[in-house]
Point group: C2
Chain length 716, copies 2
Amino acid sequence: MKFFQTWQGACITDGITGEFFPAQVPGNIQNDYAKAFSWGDVNYADNCKQYEALEDYAWLYRTELIYEQNEGERIFFVTYGIEYEYDILLNHKKLLHHTGMFSKVELDITDELKNGTLLEIYLYPHPKREGADPCRDQADQSCKPAVCYGWDWHPRLLVSGIFDETFIETRTDASITFCEPSYQLSEDFKKADLHFEIDCGETVSISLYSPDGQCIYEGTSHDIHLEDVALWWCNGQGKANLYRYQVRSSRDTIEGHIGFRHIRLGMNGEHAWNYPSEFPKSRSYPPITIELNGRPIFAKGSNWVNPEIFTATITEPLYEEQLQLAKDANMNILRCWGGAIVNKEYFFELCDRLGLMVWQEFPLACNNYVGTPDYLAVLEQEATAIIRRIRRHPCHVLWCGGNELFNGWSKMTDQSLALRLLNKLCYEYDREKPFIPTAPIMGMGHGHYLFYDQESKQSVFELFRQSDNTAYSEFGIPSIAPMEILEKVLPPELIQTPTPDTAWETHMGYNAWTPDSWLCLGIIDELFGKQTCIEDYIEKSTWTQCEGLKCVFEEARRQKPHCSMAINWCYNEPWNNVAGNSLLRYPTLPQPGYYAVRDALRNVMPSARIEHFSYEAGETLCAELWLLNDSDSEVSQTVRVYLEINGQKEPVLTWETGTIPANTNKKGHKIQIELPQNAPTQAIILHLEADCGNSSYKLLLKATKQEEINQHRLNV
Amino acid sequence: MKFFQTWQGACITDGITGEFFPAQVPGNIQNDYAKAFSWGDVNYADNCKQYEALEDYAWLYRTELIYEQNEGERIFFVTYGIEYEYDILLNHKKLLHHTGMFSKVELDITDELKNGTLLEIYLYPHPKREGADPCRDQADQSCKPAVCYGWDWHPRLLVSGIFDETFIETRTDASITFCEPSYQLSEDFKKADLHFEIDCGETVSISLYSPDGQCIYEGTSHDIHLEDVALWWCNGQGKANLYRYQVRSSRDTIEGHIGFRHIRLGMNGEHAWNYPSEFPKSRSYPPITIELNGRPIFAKGSNWVNPEIFTATITEPLYEEQLQLAKDANMNILRCWGGAIVNKEYFFELCDRLGLMVWQEFPLACNNYVGTPDYLAVLEQEATAIIRRIRRHPCHVLWCGGNELFNGWSKMTDQSLALRLLNKLCYEYDREKPFIPTAPIMGMGHGHYLFYDQESKQSVFELFRQSDNTAYSEFGIPSIAPMEILEKVLPPELIQTPTPDTAWETHMGYNAWTPDSWLCLGIIDELFGKQTCIEDYIEKSTWTQCEGLKCVFEEARRQKPHCSMAINWCYNEPWNNVAGNSLLRYPTLPQPGYYAVRDALRNVMPSARIEHFSYEAGETLCAELWLLNDSDSEVSQTVRVYLEINGQKEPVLTWETGTIPANTNKKGHKIQIELPQNAPTQAIILHLEADCGNSSYKLLLKATKQEEINQHRLNV
C-alpha cells in the first residue's frame, strides 16, 4: 500500500527556517514559495528575475506521516527523485544524505517511526562550482540539468524540490519490490526468449497478453518462449505493438508492457566503407543509421526540451498532448537533450505506445565535466539509475553522453573520464543498445540556427545543399511568436517596439545567442526590406521559418542513405519566448512551422531541391524534382508541377516517377523557369501535386529597382 | 623457489600421439618439431610452406616434474602464457582448461602430486573460425595474434606452444605472490604518493632507492610520500629516471622499478578547438598529442612487429639490440601493433630504461571481431591480464583497441562490443592512461606505403605536403633487401631474375599487397628508367626509401602542432623479406633507411620542404627552409644552403633563424634554384648545414630528351 502525504515547505536563510507554506509533491519548492507569497506569473515580463533572490537558500520540506500499518508490515519511505542534494530526517534524526535527483531511494523507516512521525527533507542550496561564472558553467560538476542555470531559450531560474513520485509504502515479504522483463530475439526477429527478473519473497504468477489482448501465457515460470512475435515498430513503419503483462503476488500486482524490437546503428549506406579512399587514409564515418528490426530508418523528429520551467510539475496530460502532436507531425524520434531533465516514466510509456523513438542523453551539456572523484561517483550512481529505469522501454533506441561535448565551448574529448564511465555503464547494463559519447560525433552536424547568415549571405537553401553530414541532429529557424503570445508576456506599451534590455530580451528576443537573436529583425530587413509593424515581422519570420524547416528536413532526406537523420532544434519551450526555434509555443500551441515540418516528414512525398529562396525578376528558378520514399513499400507517382506567380498557377511539367523501391528516393527532372522581368515584389509558389499528397514552396520574387519605381508610380 | 623443467613435445594426429622430441620452453612446438625432424631453415626459399601441414594438429607437452619441497610448502604450476587453447593434466587428470595466451595461470598442484609427477599440456589445434578463408579472417574470433595467419610481410605460419616463462614454484604464507606499486602525482608533478599493493601472508619490508642509487625509504609501510620527484622522461626530453624498490618477506625478495610520470592526450595545438568553424558544425578532432609531465611531445618512432616468426623464442639480447637501435635513431615511441604478440616483460623493462614510450594495442587487427559471448569472455580475460601487467610501466603511454578496425577491410565501429569492452576494462584498471579504440581514429592517417603512386603520379613529396593529418601512425617506403640477404634466402639461380611464384614471392617480393609489391620494380622503372641488374634496383629502391622516409617524417614534424606524431611502418621484420618497409632487416641489421630516419628525427635540425623528388633539366627547384625544434630549449642557428650538382657544391644562401622557442619550429626562406638546361641525368643534393648538424636531400635531375641524345653521342 502506498500512502501519499501532504507536505509543507519553508526556506532557510542563515540557518533560520522561515514561515511554512503548502508544498506540491512532486513539485518545485521555488514554485510553491512564489505561489504562497503571491508572486506574479513567472511567464510574464521580467517576473522570472525575482527568483534569483532564492538561489542560495536551503529549503525544508516537512510532513507528519499518515499511513496504516498491518501486522508484519514494514514501512518504507520511497522517492523516485528529489532535486538535488538532500538529507532525510525522521524526528530530527538524519537517516540519509543523498546527492542526485534521478536515483530512487527506498528507506526502511519502521523502527524509527516508534519515536514519532515527523519526516523532514532538508535541501542543500543548488550546486554551483566554486569560481564559475553565473551561467551553466556552475553546473559542470553536478548531474543537475544545466538548463536552469540559463540558456538561450530558458531564463536563469534554479529549481529544486521533490522532483518525482514520493510516498510511504507498507511492505511484507509478499511485496514485489522489483520487476523487469528482458528478452533475446532470434536472428530473424521471429522468436523471443522472455525473462522476468522479479524480487519477491514468494512465488508470483505471471500473465502475458498479446497486442490484440489475447492471454498467451499464464503461469509461474520467469522464462517464456514466444513464437511469431509481433514486433514493435516506430511511427510510419508499422504498429507499435505492445504485449501487456501482470505479475501477481498474494499482496501486489505489477502491470507493464513489453515491445519486442531489435536496435542497432548501421553504416550510412553500402558505400560508406569505401571512404575515405585516399592515402593517408583516416577512418570511415561512424554509423548513425538506426536499424529497427533490421530495417534502416530515416530518423526524423525534433529535440525535446523541458516543457515547464518548474520541471517537477509536468503533468501527464501535458506529456500526452505534446507527444500526440509529435506523432501527428510524422515524427518517429525525439532527442532528449542533455541539458534538460531526464523525463519521468509516463513520457517513456507514451512514447512506447505512440511509436516515438527516444534518443536519451545523460545530464551533461555544453560544459567540461571534469572527472573528479566526487563527480564521477555521483555520475555513476545517477547514470546507473537512469539506464536501469529506461532500458526496458521499446521506444528507447540510443544512449548519448550529452550535448556538444566535443566542441570548443565544452572541451571534452574521447578521453574524458565521465564519458568513458558512461560508455562502461551502458555496456554493463544495456549493452545491446547503441551508445554515442556526444552529438555531434564525426560526420554529424549541428546548426545552422538561422534562416539566413548575414556574413556569408547564404540562406539554408544554399547552405544545406552543399553540406553532407551523416545526421543533422540540431538545426533551427527562429520565428517571432504570434501576437496572442506577445500580448500574454509583454507589457502592452512594449509590443510594437522591440527593445533590448526589456522584457523582449528577458523572453529571448535579444542577446539570446547573437545580439539580434531570436527576433532576428536585421535578417528580415535584409531579405524583405524594412517592415513597418511587428505584425509584418511576425509574418516574414513565420514564412522563413516554414520554408527553412521544410528545406532542411527535405534536403536531409534527399541525402539518404548518406544522411540518416534530421532532428530540428527544438520541439517545445518551457515558457513563452517572444521568438525562438521551437515548433510548439508554450505549453502546446503548434506554430505554422510545426505544420511545415509535418508536411516535410510525410513518408511518401514529392520534394523540390530549390537553389535559392529569393530571386530577382528575370532570374531563372532552378529546382530538382524528387520523390521521397521512407515507406516500406514501393511507390509510383505522377508529379504535376506548377508555378504560382501574380496569383496565376501555370503548369510547368509532369513527371512520371516510375516505380521506386521501398525506403528509396528518386531524383527526377531539373526544372528551369525564367521568372518575368516586370513583376512586383511578391511571394511565388512552386506547387508539386501528386496522389500521395502535394508539396508547395513559397519563395520570394523581388522586383528590379526599375520595376519598384514603376510600381510606386502606379500606386501613386 | 622456482624449478624450471625439461620438456618434450609430440604431435597428435587423429588422436594418436607421435614420437616425442625435445621441446624448448618458452618456445613454439612447431619450431621444436622442425628441429627434431631436421627441417631446413624456415628463412630460406619456400621452406616456410612445409609448416602448413602442421596446422591442424593437436600437440602434447610433457615433463616429469623435478622440484624440492620443504615442510609446509605448497607446490604451484605457474605459466605466464601458453598459446592458445589448452588443458593442463597431472597424472592424466585434467586440472584446467584454458583459452588465451596472455593470462597467467597459477595452479596449486600439491595434492595431486601425491599421485605422481607426470605433467602434460594438451594444445588444441589453432583457432580457425568456421567458414573463414585461410587468412587472417580465421583469427577473428580469437585473441591469438592474427599475423601468423599470413600478412604482407609475414608468411602464413601458425605457431603455438608454451609462450612465456613457465615453472614449478614452492610457496608458503611468506611468499610474495603479488606486488605492484602505483602512485598519484601532485598537480605540479613534484610530489608523489606511492602505494604498494602486496599479497603476502606476513609483514614485508620495503626499500626504495632514488635514480642515483640513494636509499630514500626503508620500512614496512605500503604508503610512501615523496617530495622533489625525479620524473621519467622519454628519449630526447630528459632522463628516463627510475626508482628501484625491493620488497622482502622472510622468504622472497621482489625487485622492480618505478618511473614517475604523468600522461594525457592533449589537443593538437591551441587552435584545434576552433575547428570546425562552419555550420552545420561537426565535432573537433580528437586529441592525439602525447603530453608527458605536462609537456606536449612530438611522438616519433616506428611500428614494432614480431621480431621472430617463432614468437615464443624471442631472446633478451634480441630485444636489447633492437631497442637500443631505436633509441639511437632518436625515436621516442614504438607502436606495438595489434596483429603482433603483446611483448614479454623484458621488452617493457628495457623501454622503461631507454625512455622509449610504448603504444600498446590489444590483439585485434584488420578483422571484424564480432562480439559473441564466447569471444567477449576470452577477450575480457586476456585484456584484463594485459592491462594489469603492463599498466605499471612508465614507458607505457597509450592503450589502443587494435589496428585499422574502423576501415572497410575490418568493418568494426564505435558500436562494436569488443571495443566498448576494452574501453571499459582500461577505464576500470588503468583509467588515467589514454585509450583510443583503434588507429587511425578521426584526424589520423595510415599510408601511403609506396614512394610513388603510379595512378596519381604523385610521390610522397607531393602527397604529404598536401595532407594535414593529426598523426601519421603508419606510412612506409619499401626497399629491396641488400645482396647479402638475397643471397641468404634465395636459391642462387633466382637472384638476378625476380619472378613471381618463386621464393621471391614467398619472401614478399610480389603479391604481398599489390601484384608489384614489395619489389616495386615498376615504380623504379617509371622513375629512373629500366635498370639492368638487381644491384641497380637495390640502389634505386634504397635511395627512394631514404629520401621518402626523411620527407614524410620531416613533413609531419613541420606540421606540428596540428600534427603530433609520425610512426613509420615498420621497424623490424620476423624473417628476411626480399623487399619491404622495415628499417631493420632480420634480425637486427640497420638499413640505409634506418640511418635516414635517424637523421630525420634529430631534435634540432634544419629541414627543407622540397616540392618534388624529380626534376627535368631547366626546371626550378623550390624548397621552404625550416628549423625543426622538438627540444625543450630555445635555439638559434645559421643555416647555410648549398646545391651539389655535377659534383660541385654551390652556395645558395645563408639563413639566420633568430631565436626559436622551445618545442617550436620556424619556417624560413623559400629558395628557388633554376636547374641547368644541359645536364645529364644525375643525383643532385641539397645541403643544409648548421651547427646543430647538417641535413641533405638527394634528388633526381633528369636530362631533357635532347640532352639525353647529346650525352649518348658524347659517350659513343
